[in-house]
Amino acid sequence: MIPRYQTVIFVILLAASIVMGAVLWHLLDRAHQRLLAGEDSAPTRAPEVAPVEQATLMAADDSDDSLETRVLSLPLPAEPGARARAVLGRLLDLYAAPGAAHPVPGGAQGIVDVFLLPAKNGTDAEPGAGGGSPSPSGQSLAVVNLTAAFANGHPSGIETETLTILSICATLHANLPQVAEVRFLVDGLPRATLAGHADLTRTYLTSESTGTAGGDQP
């Protein structure tokens, strides 16, 4: 003989289970509808691939302290900052390759960002305005933000550090002629030297880096 109160509890629990199942079915249906609605807003076109263009890399050579011009075909974005980063990434990839004339580990991952700002000597440039575009005078300051891993892993020495800096400056100027000045940051912060020698606190003029860093003497 089943007690009355147990029958009542069983009926109540059965009704609650049926109600909860209906609610869950309804919620599942709503979530499915929401998911289907979200797919409509997804991009239907694949991202555009940057057109391949000629890029000039000023690659350093430790054997004679020179900068060698190399012209490569690279997909280059139109935006100047992204373009500068792509070119410098390729340059650092050259240095990270086995048997490089200027061996530096790290590769393209060594560069976080490249920002283009109006140069200080621009005629009517507003500081901080128009980031990513050159000043009306045509002069730009490029801020190259390196990773700490790249700086810490860079070989130490006056020659090798100077060549790295000069090659970056010369490559920027070769591909973005409006870049007249270059400053360096490491993980977004100023740093005294690249790897113990070359000064990273100063502003480098790209006009100083054209040609060769040094030269063999007879």
Binding site: S63, G157, I158, E159, T160, T193, H197, G214, Q217
Partner: protein, 280 residues
Amino acid sequence: MRWSERMLLPVPQIGAARDRFSPCEAVKGRTALFARRFAWKPFTALAAIFLPLVSIAALAQAPSTPAPRFVVVLDAAHGGDDAGAKLAGPDGSTELEKDFTLQFSVRLRSLLTARGIGVVTTRESDVTLDADRRAEIANHANAQACLVLHAAMSGSGVHLFLSSLPPAQRAVLVPWKTAQAAWVARSVALAGMLNSALNHAGVKVTIGRTALTTIDSMTCPAVAVEVAPQQAAGSFSGQSGGIGDSAYQAQVAEAIAAGLLEWRSASDRPAEIPAEGQYP
């Protein structure tokens, strides 16, 4: 002047700071001696008048202070907490740049001192010195040449680096961070002499410009000397021509000492080297 004559000169005070006779005292003494010896002759009066004038004119031409000593500053880069580059040591071990530069500084100091050149070193032990302190020591020495010694495994031979600051005219007040700008012309001349001496010794040399904080604040002809292995990169220290090869180090040090000797000789002929503040 004989000793007996010198005894007639005025005796300097005991405890005087300088033991030299002043020109005026010398003239007075010489005149008195002349008057005593030739008192009976008729031209004594004229001689007593004109001889001091002639002597004063002659002594005025002589330098009143001794010629400045030729001093070279040797800055052994890095030290203490700053180890510098890691160099390939003997048997595959690692040698630190700070130890190499200190050892090379001591070797070069010995060579220069033996040749009569005054040497001021920025450090004699493994201590930490920042770039400003090194430049302070060099600037206080009033040196005729400042060499900043480095070492690296990249490249080959000896790398000579000058400041990349644009040349500027010398001013009374010089910005600390660009003090070298007025000395760039002389630094170029010094690098040229070191280059000639190293080439003469058969050492490969490359010359370039760089932004080095220590050099940029120096008010003297300054060159950074970076010693690299004689052969291509990768040669180990103990191997012939490696950066730790004693014979190679001695060859480089001898050549630098010879270049500084030539620089001292050129300093005696001011027409051969540009003055500070002069554009190259």
